[in-house]
Structure formats: structure tokens, C-alpha cells
């Protein structure tokens, strides 16, 4: 008999690790952004799984995470468009003016 909470928590940890590895392995800024969204969703899944035994507050927190993720996506994509206008590329290795 599979416990739903256990499966969801393990999947949350797995998705978070995959998202973190994706941030490291991709160079395209938009895809790094997508990996960050995946990590946010992994945390959401974990919060919902915990909220079954820990109270409904976990789901309220997921609601706020979704709102902040929407705001973050809007601003982040605007920054990517702004960078693209300037450099004509979205490769994070080559947009390195602030690196040194």
C-alpha cells in the first residue's frame, strides 16, 4: 500500500534536485528560469503533502508561492527581453559584464 504523502514528498525532493541540476547544466536564461519554476513547483508539492497532516496553512503558503512566482516570471522575462535587446542573445555565459 503506497502512502500518498511519502510518494509526493520523495517526488518533490526529486523534482527539486532535477531543477537544481537543470539550472547548472543549461546556458539559455529562459530555460534556467523554467528550471527555477520547476523547483518552486517541487516545493509546492512538498507543502501540499505536508499540509495533509500539518494543517491547511501549507496550502495557504502554496497560494502565496504561486502569486510570487507569477510576479517573478513577469519581471524576470522583462529583464531577459531587455538583455536580449542589448546583446541579441540570452546565453548567460556571454552576458558577463558584471562578472569581474
Amino acid at each position: 500500500m503506497l502512502e500518498f504523502e511519502t510518494g509526493a514528498i520523495v517526488l518533490g525532493a526529486f523534482l527539486f534536485a532535477v531543477g537544481a541540476a537543470g539550472v547548472l547544466v543549461r546556458r539559455n536564461a529562459i530555460l534556467i528560469f523554467l528550471c527555477i519554476e520547476l523547483m518552486l513547483n517541487a516545493v509546492n508539492l512538498t507543502l501540499v503533502a505536508f499540509s495533509r497532516s500539518g494543517g491547511i496553512e501549507g496550502q495557504v503558503l502554496v497560494f502565496f508561492v504561486m502569486a510570487v512566482a507569477a510576479a517573478e516570471a513577469a519581471v524576470g522575462l522583462a529583464i531577459i527581453i531587455s538583455v536580449f535587446r542589448h546583446y541579441e542573445l540570452v546565453d548567460v555565459d556571454r552576458v558577463n559584464l558584471l562578472k569581474w
Binding site: L24, L34, N41, Q59, V68
Partner: protein
Amino acid sequence: MIAEFFFLLFLVMAASGAVMMVASRNPVASLMFLVLTLFAIAGLFVLLDAHFLAAVQVIVYAGAIMVLFLFVIMLLNLGHEQASDLRGLFGRGTALILGAALFAALGTALRAGGWIAAGAPRVEDAAAADPRGAVQVIADPLFRDYMVPFEVTSLLLLVAVVGAIVLARRRAP
């Protein structure tokens, strides 16, 4: 029994979609795999008795945010197959090792917390047995205890809208 089947199905869908998203060369294909993962997570939300969040997940995440990403990929003309943006062999190996280490660390922490033990705390279906509807269950604490954070969120969204317009605007010549 049928719930277990769908739980396993969504589990495999979410995990394989995430892996394919990271491994796929085409940005649009990556995004579609992420949408698959988000839908699977919405299904898991339903099975975990978070019905309202499942609806919000589909509408806001898989609907609005992913369409926004798709618009930007199309706008920047990145949709076609091109030189892969994946890092070289060294970068991939490092990412694989660090990702596996992170997964192992999270698993160790959850096991230490007693969450993956065989006798994990068994929960009766509290939300399913609640006489209030799926929306009221989450609306009650949201508008009683978390009223101020909720209002601050609206301010945050306003700032994000204004900021996005300012950042992405074409500078006047």
C-alpha cells in the same frame, strides 16, 4: 485502488517530464515537458485533497505563466533547433553529481524527520470529510489569519506589472 493507479501514473509523468525538460535541446519542447510536469502535479494535488490548488495550478501555472514563457521564446525567435545550450561533458557530469548529492541530502533529511519511514504519520482524509467546500477550506484561513500577507501580495503584483512594463519598454530614441 484506482487512486493508487493514478497516483503512480502522475508520479511517473511528473518525474519523466522534468528529466526530459532538462535534457531536451529545443526550448519549446522543454517548455511543453514542463507543462506536462505541471499537469501531473495538479493531478497529485487532487489526490492529496487540495482541489482548489489543483484548479489554480492548471489555470495560473500551466495556463498563464507557461503561455507567457512561450510568448517570450517565440518573441526572441529561439524556437528552432539550434546549437544546444547544454553545457559540455564536464558541466553535465558536475550537474549530475551535484543533483544526485542534493537528492541524497534531501532524502536523508526527510528520513531523519521520519517522513519516509514505513510508518509515516497516517492521515485521515480531513479535507475530504470537511463539510465546507474545497474553496472555503482554504479561504477561511486566507482571509482571517493571512489577510495582511494577502493584501501585500496585491501590492507585489502591482509593482511587478509596473516593473515589467518599465524594464521591457523600448527606449525612446
